[in-house]
Amino acid sequence: MTTTTTAPAVAQVRTTSAETTGRDNKAGWLFSTPFLVLYGLFLVGPVLVGLVISFFNTATVKNELGAFVAFENYTAVLGNLDFWKSMWHSTLFTLLTVPFLVVLPLVAAILASRIVRNRWFFRIAFFAPFVVPSASVALIFAFLYAPEIGLFAKVLGGIGLPVPDFLGSTNGAWLAVTILTVWWTFGFNFVLYTAALQDIPEDTYEAAAIDGASAWQQMRSITVPLLRPTIGLVLMLQILASLKVFDQIFILLAGGPNLTTRPVIQYIYDTGFTTYRGGYAAAATMVYFLILVAISAVWMIATRRRGADA
């Protein structure tokens, strides 16, 4: 710092700014520590452990790695029909739930934003199911879906409609799990949309109204275009969340009937914990993880390009 005699002031300024950045960084790291520790301990750590044991024939219940098998677990996973079946079940669940969970909360959020009095009540009412734990939701719906005695069976039967075999047939099971999931996780996307709606300035609507735009025109030309980034975000988060389905299917159906709804996470659970094939299950997890990363990457590239275009 002393070598430059011509511009000491500049050097000095630089030093100070470096110092402040350094101090800011320190504080930043300090504040991030709790998160980073937990993130490392419960996310990065296990992923690395999983990566390592995916190359070994590890038994979940033993405190040893087992024999090194190189890529054997991976070839076994890729060639296993049950793995791909369960991957398809997770994908099918995503295809079934994402349209509802992207569109319905948007409609509900727009409607709720138009309510003038007691708006808080509707916001809470839509969000409330989201905070119910998965086990409770699954049990409540198990009662509703019960053949003969359940609410659905009673109501549908009472008005003379055919009652689907919610828990005993594959189609019925998908219907059951889709209804449950839409009701249960609806609230999260609803909140995202509500927040985004609040960001749209009132005066845009006022200006449009003065120009004589109808409510429908306002929604089509103002609300939806301005919500587009949020819709994209909700779509992506929802695809990832739906691909990660496990709890409700496991608790309500245990992957049944006859494993025709078993999602990939349950497949990993079954092989890894029930039959102790830790190494194999870790390899299956890695394959699944890479697929999720690929989907996220595609989305990021797509949005970045769109951002550059704009």
């Binding site: 219940v61 006859n258 039959t275």
Partner: protein, 449 residues
């Protein structure tokens, strides 16, 4: 922030107090989860998987044992099948298992090979007089792997023949005393008997679920096959040892009964098979003994009571009768931190359950504990006493890490058997499908061996 109590102080104090409360009893689950010990909320912690009638019977037994030993017992019922075994395995591998647990003997190999159990010779049960000579030999043998015994069999629950007494009498199959069938062993005699029964009932000679119930069809197939040959896999499930000729013959026989001779329904769900036997439309039913309570006190369409009896399935293709069976057994999971005192409680609890297993036979099970099996009390129990032989001729699922009650193995095998029974698959094709499914399982890297 006035006064000496700030919110922060208050919270810290409250948190500290509640933490102290949780930790004060050092056996509390919270404390043990932090220290890595076993929770000690009762003298004996017991896990099982029985709901319904079996669950009630077990509850009574546990109460009896508590009275005699004076020890407190905490029983936990977990979901039957894979969820139970998963929880048990993970609890044991993390050193926090129950003191005593129930297992199917067919699921024992993987638990034992993973090192999750206390071997019998270290349980102290021998000193209490719980010894090999007091158990049904077939069950004890299944509880023993490579010379080491790992479980104490509580019962044997074989796959047996239920017969409708009226139909059997009409078909001339009842013995003079009327308390058993005449000898119908041998494939030809058996087919004749079913033909007569079919005439007598006007429906079917025999029934059983043939679709949507892979475990039941697997039990039926393995009973027939085992009359001719040994286990279908060996070396802990790593080598396929199917006898092709025997398997072809077994498949051909069970298919002939359903499709060609139509003595049994080719396509029956469990509900249909149940109805056919309950309504007297089929003379025999092949099913597990545990369904005994299901048929007790049922009324036939004409209002009279369904009178039935249960006997071992006779020898069919082979010389000797065999019965596919499984056993419930008691295990003491390995736990490094278990005190000698608690180990003693666990052993006494196991002994107590065995001594009280007369109650257990209410669920149709044959007690494996010979002092109970040979007791006058049990010898008076009908139909239970009629199929005790089946427990001695028991054939279990072959040893392997993937076999056993509720396993995917049974689903896969049963899936093939089902298509043979309905006529969709030819016997030889059934054999090759079984073999290729087994090959896949055998070639998989075994997690334990």
């Amino acid at each position: 922030m006035r006064g000496s109590y700030t919110r922060r102080n208050f919270l810290a104090m409250g948190g500290g107090l509640s933490l102290a409360g949780l930790l004060s009893a050092c056996g509390s689950p919270v404390a043990t989860s932090l220290t890595g010990g076993q929770p000690a909320t009762a003298d004996v912690i017991f896990w099982h998987l029985f709901g319904g009638g079996d669950g009630e019977n077990l509850g009574t037994m546990v109460e009896q044992v508590q009275k005699t030993t004076g020890h407190s017992v905490e029983s936990t019922l977990l979901s039957w099948g894979n969820p139970y075994y998963t929880k048990l395995s993970l609890a044991a591998s993390s050193q926090r298992p129950p003191d005593v647990a129930v297992t199917h003997l067919s699921r024992l190999p993987i638990l034992a090979q993973a090192g999750l159990l206390t071997p019998y010779r270290e349980t102290g049960l021998e000193q209490l007089g719980v010894t090999q000579d007091k158990f049904t030999p077939a069950a004890w043998e299944k509880a023993t792997i490579d010379g080491e015994t790992w479980a104490l069999p509580l019962d044997t629950h074989p796959f047996v023949l239920y017969y409708n007494e009226a139909a059997a009498e009409k078909a001339g199959l009842l013995n003079p005393a009327g308390d058993n069938l005449i000898d119908i062993s041998g494939a030809d005699t058996f087919v004749e008997a079913l033909t007569e029964l079919k005439k007598a009932t006007g429906g079917f000679g025999a029934t059983m679920p043939t679709i949507t119930d892979p475990s039941t069809v697997w039990r039926w197939f393995y009973t027939v096959y085992s009359g001719l040959a040994g286990p279908i896999v060996e070396d802990s499930g790593t080598r396929v040892s199917v006898d092709d000729a025997a398997m072809d013959e077994a498949f051909a026989f069970i298919q002939k009964l359903t499709t060609e001779l139509q003595l049994m329904p080719a396509s029956a769900t469990p509900a249909l098979a149940n109805a056919q036997f309950s309504n007297g439309e089929a003379g025999f039913l092949f099913d597990g003994v545990w369904n005994l309570p299901l048929y007790a006190g049922l009324k036939l369409p004409d209002g009279s009571e369904l009178k039935y009896n249960m006997v071992p399935i006779p020898a069919l293709l082979g010389e000797e009768p065999v019965a596919y069976a499984d056993s419930h057994a008691l295990i003491i999971p390995a736990a490094g931190g278990r005190s000698a005192e608690r180990a003693q409680y666990a052993a006494q609890f196991v002994q107590g359950l065995l001594d009280n297993s007369t109650i257990w036979t209410g669920g149709g099970h044959v007690p494996a504990w010979l002092p109970v099996q040979e007791s006058a009390e049990f010898q008076e129990l009908s139909p239970q006493k009629n199929y005790v032989d089946a427990a001695f001729n028991a054939v279990y699922d072959p040893n392997g890490w993937y076999t056993g009650a509720g396993s995917d193995f049974q689903n896969q095998m049963g899936g093939v058997v089902s298509t043979v029974l309905t006529g969709a698959t030819k016997p030889a094709a059934g054999t090759s499908q079984i073999k290729s499914a087994l090959k896949k399982l055998a070639d998989t890297n075994a997690p334990v061996s």
